[in-house]
């Protein structure tokens, strides 16, 4: 019996062995060299393949000699080879015509690039790889033409950047023109998602491509697709250590030079010198090291400071480190087979700030997981979860006011007192011990995606998306003290007078502590967002030439947010703060904001292409939005786009070897904008307020009547028109695209004409304003390979736009507000004739053109402003369009000609990437709306607005000045404590254009022939630098650290920095 069983098993074994055929062969690249590491597998058995060896050879067992094998290699066209009885095949791979096969992600689906008729650009994660960036937004700057990412607020950890697609979309009161960001189909936050999880980013720039998203996306859409699992298990680790170095930090003058400049400023304005000879000598003596201390007692309770002390401190050097160290680590595990794929990742970022005494930290922990299950050929299900936690921990003092005061602190202020404590004016102690702000974000994303394919080419999608967000926030101000000369403990001021205000729009507290005040604030914001997408699409082809794709669907969204905020100054234990239990406490501030919105949308799309030559796409979407009154709630938004693939025409065949891809396209769409700042724009609020009446010794709380509103307030409508051309030459080695567009935003909310005073209130706002943006984009890329070992690419893009207000009913036509015909970003100011070289020259000029309206005691060294009208006096007129005096448009602050170019090369195991980004033209005035800020000009129109850098030394000085004569060609007029020489004018208009070497990366990959490569699939060491070089003509500051929206005027914000990093990438 046993013998029969053994014989049976032997026969079976023989049968099985005979059934498996061994195929051998060699794979070659287009250059004729053998392809190392090409993947070879039997069709239908993806997970059981082999890779070619160092000679390009492979040996594969297949089920039969009639099987088909598939050979694939990165960058080359995948080939299927039917064995047809052969057991040895040599495979010659070809270059992949990547443009023709390239796929772009569009709304609710993908399209082949050659068939796409909208303005869509898809980029892969290469633009983010190996870069020491904190978030994906940073990495995208300059990556896509028309995607404008600007940063005016410097490099504060966790700072957000401004994003728009094709320019500003709306100036409507309370409107928002940010693009819609969707992460795997759900609205998300691009600044917190782990950049390493991103597979690709698609930017839908025009209305036709964004129309499918309706009223949430009138100003474009950014679609982020995150990574999924692939066949075969992979474990990947990437990590880097970063060294951040601040750039373009102003250099303060030394104390003696500062004193001379202060004396000049005061005497030039008709005052007296602030530093006498004795004081000046003492400053020099301290600088020479002859004096041990730089201050002494002013009184029993106060130490000398500002004018009276004699220190020598560069406050920027004192506060800003030379280097800060950060790190990031990322690990992923992914894999799968034909039925199940998975992707899990974890990311940790620890970013330090560059301020001494501040101990700032920005940390991010991101965990994500995605599992895709293919139950059968008809049903597949994907679940994605993502948890992102960030924390921004910094001193409460590190705000805009701090940056304002940093430059204003005199160099004569010492850091230390004779007793070893910090001088109270240094604000170091308040920085270190005065309380912290802890701003946390916890985001939890969940997405379920079910795809059913009942029959071939018909898919039904059901998506459920949820985002839950919590923002716990605390802020504390602790009283800090200094030891006074008499030994007593005296409280230290935090740099401004105390205030406690509530912003009624968002419930935030605008607080500056009083002296000795213990303040504790606690807030929590929670967001609950839920959306559903149900859609189905069906592909239909007739006669191999008529290709249709139909798609219909519906979407619902609900968003609810709640802010609770409490603060108290009745804090008993600042080290362990808690709110006191009290009834009717005077020292408490409370606010709550509770709001929600919801939308319902139905949409449909028809794509038709004839023989891949003529394309038509029609979109239609109907949206209902809770933000509008019942009778205005629904809007319907059509879009149409067409395309013509000229290169697919028969008459083009002979040109295909030169130009293999040429497509013309055009589009038109009408979209609505429901992105109002307020969730209830058609309601007017009656917000409680502290009244001017006092009863019983207390200010009473009042409820003012609401402002009248119009019940016909409705959607803003955005009309988009565009045309473009896509092309590819020399087998798509040279590719590019050009787009032109015009976007008109109609029915923006603007002011109505004034009503007679008997109305008793302001006229209600209505939809009566229009904005038009016109622009263009151009992209070009060249990719090539020389020999087996060297490949390179050069790519670049440039774009530009201009926006003009085409309709606006301004009640006063002030040039400082909006008016019909205003170009967005206009800067008004005087023109300057020159600097008078002497009193006589100024007197002769003033005899013709009086400047008394803008200053007094004019003399040599002061600016002569140009007279533009018939009025002999130089003035601003009424600052209206019809009467703007001698003001003219001197520039425009819109960033123009945004460009970027990338050089990439790979030689054997070394890769190189240089990425340049810049703005070709931008005017900027570093001012506060009235005059230059002190950070720009040294003095900002008032004696206490003093900030003296070495850049400010280029001011007019006569011969004999202790700082040397400078009257031939100075940049600034005389330094003055008044506003004479700091008006908005063309002379001080800055050229904020720049070219920056945004990223330089050099990488070294472990060769596959080394012994370690047996255990490690891929190992790469790289050096990367961000913001390495900057070329800009702007004075003093970095062109991206100007803070145009700052509370205290431009030029007072966190510095920008360059980053060097060393990183390691391992794949097992």
């Amino acid at each position: 019996m046993k013998r029969y069983i053994i014989a049976l098993f032997s026969m079976l074994a023989a049968l099985v062995t005979m059934a498996q055929v061994t195929v051998t062969g060699t794979v070659y690249e287009p250059t004729g060299d053998t392809a190392i590491g090409a993947s070879v597998y039997e069709k239908g058995k993806d997970g059981k393949g082999v890779v070619t060896d160092i000679d390009g050879n492979f040996t594969l067992k297949v089920s039969s000699d009639k099987a088909t094998i598939i050979v694939s290699y990165i960058g080359l066209e995948t080939q299927e080879i039917a064995l047809d009885g052969r057991n040895h095949v040599d495979v010659h791979l070809k270059e992949a015509p990547n443009v023709l096969n390239e796929v772009v992600v569009v709304g609710y689906g993908t399209q082949k690039k050659i068939n796409a008729t909208g303005a869509v650009k898809t980029i892969d994660n290469e633009v983010l790889e190996s870069r020491p960036i904190s978030n994906a937004v940073q990495g995208l700057q300059g990556a896509v033409a028309g995607l404008n990412i600007t940063n005016d607020a410097g490099g504060a950890p966790g700072a957000e950047m401004n994003i728009n697609i094709r320019g500003i979309g709306s100036i409507g009161d309370g409107s928002d023109s940010n693009p819609l960001v969707l992460i795997d189909g759900m609205e998300g936050d691009l600044s917190t998602i782990n950049p390493n999880d991103i597979e690709s980013i698609s930017v839908l720039k025009d209305g036709a491509s964004a129309a499918i998203y309706g009223s949430r996306a009138p100003f474009g859409v950014i679609l982020v697709t995150t990574k999924s699992g692939e066949m075969g298990t992979r474990v990947n680790y990437t990590g880097n250590v970063r060294f951040q170095q601040p750039i373009n930090v102003p250099k303060m003058v030394d104390s003696y030079t500062m004193a001379l400049m202060v004396n000049d400023a005061w005497t030039n304005a008709g005052g007296g010198a602030q530093f006498g000879k004795a004081a000046l000598e003492r400053l020099l003596a301290y600088q020479r090291g002859e004096l041990p201390y730089a201050t002494e007692a002013q009184s029993d309770l106060q130490w000398k400071g500002t004018y009276a002390s004699w220190g020598n401190t560069d406050w920027y050097s004192e506060y800003i480190k030379k280097v800060a160290v950060s790190q990031e680590h990322n690990a992923t595990v992914s894999g799968g087979n034909q039925k199940t794929k998975y992707y899990f990742s974890g990311n940790y970022l620890d970013q330090a700030g560059i301020f001494r005494h501040a101990d700032e930290k920005y940390k991010r922990l991101a965990l994500s997981g995605r599992v895709n299950v293919k139950f059968n050929d008809y049903v597949q299900f994907t679940w994605t979860s993502r948890i992102i936690a960030t924390e921004n921990n910094k001193p409460s003092l590190l705000n805009n006011l701090f940056f304002h005061n940093l430059g204003r602190r005199y160099a004569t202020e010492p850091v230390y007192l004779p007793n070893g404590e910090y001088h109270p004016n240094s604000l170091i102690q308040p920085m270190e011990e005065g309380g912290r702000v802890k701003d946390k974000t916890q985001q939890f994303y969940n997405q379920a995606n079910l795809v059913i394919e009942p029959i071939k080419d018909w898919q039904i999608h059901a998506e459920l998306n949820s985002r839950i967000e919590h923002n716990p926030y605390t802020r504390q101000f602790n009283p800090v003290y200094v030891t006074a000369p008499d030994g007593s403990r005296q409280p230290i001021s935090f740099g401004d007078t105390g205030r406690h205000k509530i912003d009624n729009n968002n419930g935030t507290f605008n607080v500056q502590p009083e002296l000795e005040e213990a303040y504790y604030e606690k807030a929590n914001r929670s967001i609950n967002f839920f959306s559903t997408n149900f859609y189905t699409d069906y592909k239909l082809t007739f006669n191999d030439k008529h290709n249709f794709k139909f798609m219909v669907g519906m979407q619902t969204e609900r968003y609810h947010r709640n802010y609770d905020r409490v603060a108290s100054t009745n804090i008993v234990l600042p080290d362990r703060p808690f709110f006191p239990s009290e009834i009717g406490g005077e020292s408490t501030m409370i606010s709550e904001v509770n709001e929600e919105w919801s939308t319902v949308g139905v949409f449909g799309r028809v794509n038709y292409n004839f023989d891949d030559r003529y394309m038509l796409e029609v979109n239609m979407r109907g949206d209902g939005a809770s933000r509008f009154p019942k009778n205005q709630r629904w809007g319907y938004f059509p879009a149409v786009s067409i395309g013509w693939n000229i290169a697919q025409e028969k008459f083009w065949e002979s040109l295909t070897t030169v130009c293999n891809y040429l497509k013309l396209r055009g589009s038109y769409s009408e979209l609505g904008n429901q992105n109002t700042t307020s969730f209830y724009p058609y309601y007017e609020k009656m917000a409680t307020n502290a009244g001017q009446v006092v009863i019983g010794g207390q200010q009473v709380t009042i409820l003012p009547a609401y402002t009248p509103f119009s019940s016909s307030l409705t959607w803003e409508k955005i009309e988009n028109v565009g045309a473009g051309i896509d092309f590819g030459f020399l087998n798509s080695r040279l590719t590019g695209a050009f787009d032109w567009y015009q976007r008109t935003t109609k029915d923006m909310v603007g002011p109505a004409l004034s009503l007679p005073g008997v109305f008793g209130a302001k006229a209600p706002k209505t939809n009566n304003a229009e904005l038009r943006t016109r622009g263009w984009e151009f992209e070009l890329a060249w990719r090539d390979r020389i020999g087996k070992d060297f490949s390179y690419s050069i790519s670049g893009s440039i774009s530009d736009y201009k926006s003009v207000v085409t309709k606006y009913q301004s009640s006063d036509n002030k040039i400082t507000g909006w008016y019909q015909g205003k170009n967005y970003g206009e800067i008004w100011g005087y023109e300057v004739v020159g600097i008078a070289k002497s009193d006589r020259e100024m007197a002769q000029y003033l005899a013709q053109h009086s400047q008394t309206a803008i200053g007094s005691k004019w003399g040599g060294g002061d600016l002569m402003y140009k007279n533009q009208d018939n009025d002999p006096a130089i003035n601003k007129g009424a600052q209206t369009v019809d009467d703007h005096g001698d003001l003219v448009v001197i520039g425009n602050t819109t960033p123009r000609y945004a460009y970027s170019f990338t050089l990439e090369a790979k030689w054997k195991f070394i890769d190189f990437r240089a990425y340049f980004q810049g703005i070709g033209k931008r005017d900027y005035f570093i001012g506060d709306g009235n005059t230059c800020t002190a950070t720009f000009a040294g003095y900002g129109g008032r004696p206490w607005q003093t900030t003296l850098f070495y850049d400010h030394l280029d001011y007019f000085r006569y011969a004999g000045s202790e700082l040397g004569a400078n009257y031939e060609d100075p940049y600034f007029g005389r330094l003055r404590t008044d506003g004479n020489n700091v008006q908005y004018c063309d002379r001080f208009l800055q050229d904020a254009s720049y070219l920056r070497l945004k990223n330089l990366t050099i990488g070294f990959s472990l060769p596959e022939t080394t012994k370690i490569s047996r255990y490690v699939q891929k190992a790469r060491l790289y050096f990367s630098a961000e913001n390495l070089f900057t070329h800009s003509k702007i004075k003093t500051f970095d062109p991206e650290a100007l803070d145009s929206n700052g509370d205290w005027g431009a030029g007072k914000c966190y510095p920008q920095y360059r980053t060097f990093s060393i990183g390691l990438e391992l794949t097992f």
């Binding site: 030394l953 006569y958 004999g960 400078n966």
Partner: protein, 202 residues
């Protein structure tokens, strides 16, 4: 390994070059000396110009002083308090020489006449200069002389003053108007006399 070494060296070089920032410098020219020239003295009423003839010219160096305040201390450096327990302030004067060589120029006296039909004659003393200059208030109590313009200026400018008609022969009071550059490198003394309506020229 060699490639890795070169790569590391390239990375460090990149970091070193990029770290260098150019510091701004003071564009002031310390070699430019103050200049002040009294160009002319002219009457606005008659248009007559009066010659300015140098009487003498002296080169010198200024000596400056300043007060140094301190507290009274004993040999060990401890403060000596008064009977009320308060710090005692001491004052000493420190002297030092300026680095500037100063020039002092005196002009010969200019006598300004009175006219019958001119109660107030205005004169412009025009200066050419590349420096800040001062025309301090005169020490003498002279009622016929009154400066009507600013007494400080920068660069080319004018000091304007008025002369009141004098009914007598010759005024006893002489004006010594000093004009000097702000750094005291150049100082001029303009002496002015005044004749009245009864002046016959003897």
């Amino acid at each position: 390994m060699k490639q890795l070494f070169y790569l590391s060296a390239l990375g460090l070089a990149m970091a070193a070059i990029a770290s260098c920032d150019n510091d701004p410098t003071n564009p002031g020219d310390f070699n430019v000396k103050s200049e002040l020239e009294i160009a002319q003295l002219r009457s606005r009423v008659t248009g007559e110009s009066y010659p300015l003839t140098v009487a003498r010219s002296i080169d010198s160096t200024y000596r400056y002083s300043y007060n140094v305040y301190d507290t009274l201390k004993d040999a060990s450096g401890e403060a000596i308090l008064d009977k009320d327990g308060k710090l005692q302030i001491t004052t000493t004067v420190d002297y030092y020489f300026s680095h500037i060589t100063a020039k002092y120029v005196e002009f010969e006296r200019i006598t300004l006449p009175s006219y019958v039909d001119v109660e107030l004659d205005t004169f412009d003393l025009e200066v050419n200069s590349n420096a800040k200059w001062l025309a301090p208030k005169i020490k003498e109590d002279v009622n016929w002389y009154n400066v009507i313009s600013t007494t400080t200026g920068g660069g080319d400018g004018t000091l304007s003053f008025t002369i009141k008609q004098f009914s007598g022969t010759t005024s006893k009071n002489i004006v010594n108007q000093i004009m000097l550059t702000a750094d005291s490198a150049l100082m001029y003394r303009i002496q002015l006399g005044h004749t009245g309506l009864k002046y016959t020229g003897e």
